[in-house]
Symmetry: C2
Subunit: 448 residues, 2 copies
């Protein structure tokens, strides 16, 4: 496919950039029109690439794009999943270029969504286009692109239930994850699940002067800090009764297998500019993100946060808290456990409310499956080295749902790199990865 890429490089980038220029931030209401625009543009690109049909389906939330090419009912069918929504861009001031005006610097595209997931889903459009135009395609291909992955896919499971026949396939193919490094390709064979809550602590019913009341009235920020602090113990374990009940401990053998993945702790620390890593006692860094659950505060706020000093004892304090779960932990059960626990430790001098955001279960993919083997062969050929099976720390909760609803396994061929800093300012995607991804996917169709 190398030659096809060379010949069509400018058109490819124009097409991808047309997607990146649409600020399809799913979590912010004002971007509703952008979501619809992005969905429409994707359907257009699907048809241009050769799909028989490509339609935009409204949902209660942002629309779903579905398109397909049915070559021969006897062929096996690949269902490509991707998402066209992106994360918010704040803090905007840290971006070196406009997040919605893609720019190529040092061989990488800089834009929100350059990697996650517009860049990665685009590889599938072009690999499909190539295989089809060259007459090499021996599969039916279906595409499902949603606009709500970054907010937990609240509509897609229902939509998939209602369109089970339309989606019927043999494998779900996804590029929405990372490889270990440019030199060490890897294939994700498991991902963590997610439980996400927001905690609101209310003290007095109004902001107070901290001089007049300080020392006598509970400060909701201090209380929130106490509560958050109590959630992780000194060994880095999550201090919520029952939290680890369903966590499967890996055998020493399995841990040894995972430890074969190349990993340089010093480089990792240098990349993050940290002196030390921190996590659950008794586990390595790769295990901490791969096979162990964790709890993070994703946002906290309360009181006066402007310039200078204000002596306020605030009425309210908030924290957004998420837990990454491992396969066999049930997201709904964990959310309930955590909520119950937080309410149970709430002291009687404040009011505490817990709000639930999206969640989802983790999952595992068998390495022995034909799809994994085909992907491994394809990537091995493109990168010149056999990919390492890895366990991803992130979550694509909808994949566990699709797996359950459609009865088929997902396969995660991700081409992102750590350096892409997805979800952060200056998200990027290397052109070399974009093009190698296309080649790998095209080869996957040949070997699957």
């Amino acid at each position: 496919m190398k030659k096809y890429i060379e010949e069509n490089r400018d058109r490819f980038l124009d097409e991808l950039f047309s997607l990146l220029r649409i600020p399809s931030v799913s979590s912010l209401e004002k971007h509703g029109p952008d979501m619809r625009k992005c969905a429409a543009r994707l359907a257009e690109l699907l048809k241009e690439a050769g799909a028989d049909t490509a339609d935009v389906y409204p949902t209660k939330g942002h629309p779903v794009v579905f398109g397909q090419k049915i070559l021969d009912p006897s062929y096996s069918t690949v269902l490509v999943y991707g998402h066209y929504d992106v994360q918010p861009v704040d803090p905007l001031e840290l971006w070196k270029s406009d997040p919605f005006e893609p720019e190529i610097r040092d061989g990488a595209i800089y834009a929100r969504g350059a990697n996650d997931d517009k860049g990665q889903l685009f590889m599938h459009l072009k690999a499909f286009e190539y295989m089809l135009r060259e007459g090499k395609l021996r599969h039916n291909v279906k595409f499902i692109f949603e606009g709500e992955e970054e907010i937990g896919s609240p509509s897609l499971a229902q939509w998939a239930l209602e369109h089970r026949d339309l989606l019927a396939s043999d494998i779900i193919l996804v590029s929405d994850t990372t490889m270990i490094s440019e030199q060490v390709p890897s294939i994700n064979c498991g991902m963590r699940g997610l439980s996400y809550i927001e905690v609101k602590v209310t003290g007095p019913d109004k902001d107070l002067h901290s001089g007049h009341y300080g020392g006598a009235v509970a400060n909701p920020i201090n209380v929130l800090c106490d509560m958050v602090s109590s959630l992780i113990d000194k060994d880095g374990r999550i201090n919520i009764p029952g939290f680890y009940d369903d966590v499967v401990e890996l055998s020493d053998e399995d841990r040894a297998k995972l430890a074969r993945a190349p990993f340089d702790l010093e480089e990792y620390k240098k990349f993050l500019d940290i002196k030390e890593v921190k996590g659950e006692k008794g586990y390595t860094t790769l295990e901490r993100t791969g096979i162990r659950p964790c709890l993070d505060v994703n946002g906290i706020w309360g009181g006066y946060t402007g310039e200078g000093a204000k002596t306020v004892l605030p009425s309210e304090a908030y924290a957004k808290i998420s837990m990454r779960l491992v396969p066999n932990q049930d997201s709904a059960r964990i959310t309930e456990l955590v909520t119950d626990h937080i309410l149970s430790i709430a002291p009687d001098y404040v009011k505490v409310e817990v709000r639930h955001y999206h969640g989802g279960n983790g999952f595992l993919i068998p390495i022995s499956s034909p799809a994994y083997q085909a992907a491994s062969k394809a990537m091995g050929e493109v990168y010149g080295i056999e990919p390492v099976p890895s366990r991803g720390g992130g979550s694509i909760p909808i994949l566990a749902d699709l797996q359950r609803i459609l009865g088929i396994d997902p396969l995660l061929m991700g081409f992102g790199l750590e350096r892409d800093t997805i979800h952060s300012p200056n998200e990027s995607y290397l052109l070399s990865q974009l093009f190698k991804g296309m080649e790998s996917i095209a080869l996957f169709y040949e070997y699957y």
Copy 2:
């Protein structure tokens, strides 16, 4: 003075409102022009009230207004202190009327600064005007109004040092505090000091995807919560070595005297809409705000604080933390202690920086002094009941400085009420308190 107030009521309100309409928020740079406008307006009002001179003095920060009426060098001299700057107004959406367009509702003026301190300093202008016009004044009167009280008076101490002769007086008279209730007038005979810092915790040098890194990299918000939580122990004591070294424990007798101040805990909790109070073990609520130090987080922020969910492991987290100090605790020493402690407990997987805001020492005023006695008699006459000596929990750090620089005592005749919610949305000041305050101050001049 009752009659004079009745005759001039509309003019008084017009004049006060002209001050309240100027958004003199000292902590926000954009209000620089408003600060100068407010200072000029005050000088104008001073002259109209009868001052011989009234001038605006530039400082490195916001200007100082100084005016005086020297009737006879043999008279004793009263120095009136007040401040024309106000606190920020956020959260603006909780205000029922424009904070800078005063409105009278149910017998109270609603506006930022209605009480703190424009309303209260205005009483002094009018009591002075009345005494002078009626030929009753037997004191020289000096006025010093600063524009930086809410940001810790960074310029006034230096200015006072440079203008010691101009400020020479026998007593500093201040209305910038509260009474216990409308029915129970009180005079503040002590205030707490203040130490105010900002803590910044930096983890990785960029925001990270919490799925890819969560569990393996320290989250600066979690670390900040751990650190904040460790600063107060389970008995409500501040957990910083040396913090209580200079705190003077009151004798049982003194505690019994303070306990005579009427206080209804149930009413207090009802007013704040809290089920329970919280504070240092072994002390009552009045003691906790009057004679004991405390530590409050005044603001906290980090990560994603917008709508919806974002799975970010942020790079930075911040907290503004202030400590109220009691007399004999030195603000500079405490700030140093706290800073050293916070840096010493900072774990090596994050970077921690501490920034210092303003601070100041607490102080005590002898009840036996002639000025206290005159104020007590004046307020007793106006309210029909002898005022209770009380200890204020707030801080006016500059007063301890002026006391030291000028060698004279401050006297705090405050007419604010708890219901005024200064520093919060819907700050107000009862017209009855405004006018009773004027009467009390006029009588003070007669008895002092």
